[in-house]
Every structure is written in C-alpha cells, then in structure tokens.
Amino acid sequence: MVNLEDLKKEAKAVLKDEKVKYVIGYEKSSNGLMPAPAFIKKPEDVEKLIWDPTCIHNLTRFLTDEKQKKAREKQPDERPVGIIVKGCDSRALVVLLQEKFINREDVYIIGVSCESAGVVDEKKLSKKLKDKKIENIEFDEKDNIIVTTKDGKTKIPASEILAERCLECRANFPVIYDVLLGEKTKRQPENPFQSVEKIESLSEQERWDFWKEQLSKCIRCYACRSVCPMCYCDECVVDTINFAVTADTTAEEKAQKIKWLEKSPVLSENFVYHFIRAIHLAGRCIDCGECERVCPLDIPIRFLNKKLEKDAKELFDYDSGFDPDQPSLISSFRDEDPEDFIR
C-alpha cells in the first residue's frame, strides 16, 4: 500500500512551488465510513490528506466544476489543478483528454497505484463492522484488510469487502501521471465480465423481470449522472429546461425543446433515462463504479456500463481509457465491423 507520507510530500511540493491551484485528494469525513473529497489550497493543509482502502471517490469528476468555474472567471488562474488518481480514475482522465474536454496542461496528476488491492465497498464493510468507527484501515501483504476499531484489530480477506469494480478491474495502476506512487503490479481478474455474464445467461423474461424490478425503484435523483466524470454536458436530455439558452434564442426554440422523457418516475421513463445514460457512456465509461456506489436505492447500474464495455471489446476490440489519441468508439468504425444482424 502506498505510504501516506509520500503522498503528502508530493502534494506539498507542488503547492509550495505554487505549481498548482489546489490539490484534490481525500480527507476524513464526519458522516460515515468513507472519506470526503478534499480541496487542499495551502501547503500546510496537506496534513489533512489521507490515503487508505476507503479512498473510493473518482475525483476527476470535479474537473467539470473547475472548467465551468474557470469559464465564468474574468481573469482565470491558468495553473493546473493537482489531482490524486487511482488506476480507474486515471483512465477517466484519458477519456477526458481524448474528448478534448480537458488539456493535458490543465492537470497535474499524482498517480497512486492500487498495487495488488483496490478500494473497499462501503456496504460490505459496514456489514462486517456493525456500526463501529474505523480508527485505521490498511492492507497487509497477503491480500487481507486490517481494520482497527475501538475493539481492536480485525483481519478481513480483501476479496470479501473489495468493491465489485476492483474485483473486475483490468488495470489497477494509473495509465497517465506526472508522478507515480507505488508499483505497477498488474492483477488480472479471472473474468472481468463475470457480473455481465450472469445476467446474459438469464432468459429473456428473467432479464426483463430483473431490470423491471431494479429500474422501478429509481427516484431519478440523478446522482448516478451527477457523479460521473464523463457526464459533463452543459445540457442533458433529462433536464426539463434548455441550458444552452442565449440572448438570441427565440421563444419558439425554447418552447420546442423536445421532452424525450417525462419527469414521472415510472418504469417507462426510468427506462429511457437509464438506457440513454448507458449508451452515452459506451466506449467512455472506465468502470470506476461511482454511479453504482452513490445510488441510494442500490440499483446495479454498473451492470449496464459493463455490458457496453464487454460488447465494445467483443464486437470492435475497443478498450476505453488507455490511449488519449485513439478515436472514440462511436466516431470510428472498421470495415470488418459485424453486420450479421443487418438484413
């Protein structure tokens, strides 16, 4: 496991040299087992930073806010933002670079390798701890997680509490960085698409019943959209109002905003939302699993993105988040793309 002091040292150095505006990392939270994103502006504040297996958030999502904020400023500070990224998070950066949403010089990337482990799932962990507060949590060398609470140390096999995304992760170290902490040890999962295959193996009716039950629960809080680093559009099809309104937009244009789906949280409309969210992430989702983590109703939305990841790989040999220079999945094609389904 990467040493916290090394991480602080890196963050402190760039803040001291005023090379970055601020560093986005993790700090202790007051609300539960997981940490909170931290925005460190002063070198002395790096003491707040933490690094342990609960550091689950994909912080690249905050680059969207940064970009919006910068666009509003009259004399924006042109320095980059420092950001701490794990393997999956770094692949989100690659996609953002590929799509030219950010420029390489906008970010100073402090990469942290998950090495042979990953991050823990809050729900799995809280079941083991039964409300006890964590004093310390770390990996040992043998794939265990050692949690210290007021009652002492507990050893839990990592596979029992790691987040699902980590159990299916294909690159557990950053693919892009300015500094890298930790080793690039690759841990190949047996089958990165296990969860998807489980659903695929169900009958048509069973699949429908599964999704019907899951999607009926959705309250359309849009947390799954809001947390996604790739959901950066100024205007989303699910919003009720045009955001791209300018002084020249006519009343007619405003009135004609197409309502693709209704606000009613009923199955048919929830379905449109989830289908579109998933398809808009085809070839872009890098499986950080944030969408699924934040859902208050525990809807397994990651299965949708993972399905598209699998299809992109199978049909088009496409992997997202490794090469910022590759054309995006749906703005490219190969002559030999399958067409056996076409009449």
């Binding site: 939270s29 007051s30 609300n31 539960g32 997981m34 940490p35 909170a36 994103p37 925005f39 958030h57 999502r61 905050f62 806010d65 904020k69 729900k123 409300d131 309250i219 359309r220 809080c221 849009y222 947390a223 959209r225 809001s226 947390v227 919003d239 009720t240 109002i241 045009n242 955001f243 309104v245 300018t246 002084a247 937009t249 009343a251 405003k254 209704e262 606000k263 009613s264 949280p265 009923v266 944030e290 983590r293 934040v294 208050p296 109703l297 525990d298």
Partner: protein, 346 residues
Amino acid sequence: MEKVLAKKSFPQWVKTLSSYKIFAPIEKEDLWSYELIEKPEQINLDYLNTVLSPKKIIFPQREVYLEFFASNEEGIEVKELLPDEKPSVIFGVRPCDAKALTLTDKVFGGDFEDLYYWNRRKQTALVGLSCSTPPSPNCFCLTVDGSPFSKDGLDVLMTDLGDKYFVETLTKKGEQLVNSAKTLFKAPTEKDKKNLAKIQQDAKKKITRQVENIKKVPPQLKEMFDSPLWDEESMSCIQCGICTYLCPTCHCFDINDEIDSSSPLKGKRIRTWDNCQFPDFTMHSSGHNPRPDKASRLRQRIMHKFQYFVELYKNYQCTGCGRCISQCPVGIDIIEVLDKVSDYGA
C-alpha cells in the same frame, strides 16, 4: 391511553384492521422501505431506518392532478382526479418522520388546503415506533426539538419492551385502531412503566450527534447570504438530488402536462417532486439562472431549513433523521455546516 401488547399478538392486531390499507417497513436486499402489506406476518419491526420516509405515501413522488381530452361539445374537457383513499395505517413510523409530516402539513395547509395531500393525510393513521437505539449513527433529533420518543404527528406510539410493546394512544384515530382489538391490549404494570422510563432515558444518551449551538443558527444565517462559507462547503457537492429527495421535510414539486395523444388531444397534468439542488430548478426561460452555482444551492437548502422556515412557521424544517448526512455521496454533513454557521465570524 396507555396499554401493553404482547409481541406475539401484534400480527393478530394487524389482522383486525382488515378494512385498512396497511403499510410497514419491508426489507429487500438490505434496503428498507415502506410498502403495502398483504399479510401481517410480513411486518418486521426490527428495522433501522428506511431510505425514504413515509412522506412517499402521503406526498407521493408522482401525483396525477387531472386528465384532459378533446371532446366534441366542449372543446377540451377536464376531469379532476382527487385521490379517493381508503383509510390507511402506516406502522413503524419513526418519531422524526412523523414530526416531518407536521411540517409538511403547514406547507400544504393554511389558507389554501392542498386536497391531494390532505385527502391522504386525513385518511392515514400513523403508528410510531420509538427509537430505543438510534436507527442511524447520524441521528440528531435532540438538536432540532425532537426526541427518539416524540409523539408529534403520531396517532399511536409503540415502544419495544423486549417481549411486548408499550402502546400509547394519542388521538381519536389511534384509539379506533387499538379498540379494534381491545382484548389483545392489557393495562401496563408498574414495572412496564419503569421499564419505559428507563429505555427512554437510555435512548437519549445513545444519540451521539448534535449541533453545538443551534439557537444561534437562524440569526447568524440572516447575515450570511453573501458569505464565502457557501463556496467552501459546496466544493465537493455534485448537485445530485439525494439530500432533498430523501429528506422527510422537503416538499418542492413541479407540474407538467404529459401528453398521451396530440390529436385528438389527451393527456394528464402531473405533479412530481422537484429538487432545489438541480441546476434547472431555478432556470428562467430567459436563460437567466438566479442560483447559478452550487454554492447558492447549498445556501438555499440550509437557509430554507434553518432561516426562512423558522421565520414563517417557528420550526426548523429538519427533524434530525440524518438521511442527508448518511446518504450524501461526498460526505457533506449538515451538522458540520450548521456548526460552522453558528461559529461564523466569531
């Protein structure tokens, strides 16, 4: 009226209420939610707290106001669709969630009564379950004038005494429920009463979270509209709707026409929950947005709950259920924010 009910008689009591629709917390894959019950045996009162409060029954996320359709004689005909509810009982209501309904009562009552809300509200009896152990590590009801055995808004309050429930009947509606199975309820013994007092005392001690100086919050807020605090505190906010949709007291809504057919015209006017944390909530059709950033939206959430509502209704618009704290994906903690507000400028 004070009674005790043996736990094993509880299903029998529910059975005698066959003329009511019964709702109670149900668990599915580790999530608790209030659902319509078919058999009394389904009810399990060993739950912590539900993701959504009983707000979702009284003030459902989707409500059909009216239907409209083109008709030959009258041009467009409109049919009002008021909910015509059978009497209902919700079991296992937490005191904070019941109190929350007394707050939404103020909003949907007063000079203009919202019939959609009240038709359900009046037909629904709330049977509470006091919190001998706080259902969430983030409970802070004591701060906001509540308590783990508060009776506000309830018709009956039950307290778990081990093998029986201590049952306090608080209203006429509640009496009717208890009277439907008179023989099952016994008078409490002195020991039961002592037990109850002890449980209540302990329960209070088990609540670990509180806002240090809540009294200072409303006056402080009045001066803090332009404070940089909102920027700092909202840095990590992702603008999702979790905190407000899950809040038992939040009540904002939107009204839309859903068109089923444009010719001949046919459709419905529908109310759905809306959410002050969404960027489009305050968007004007001119393209101007008076709450343009997340700082202004966090400010709105806090101000509404701890300043505007206090001024209007002499109550905090928060019952300390802790949902917004536990469920926030980025750890924004209303208690921390309020602590910072009360200390601000000191």
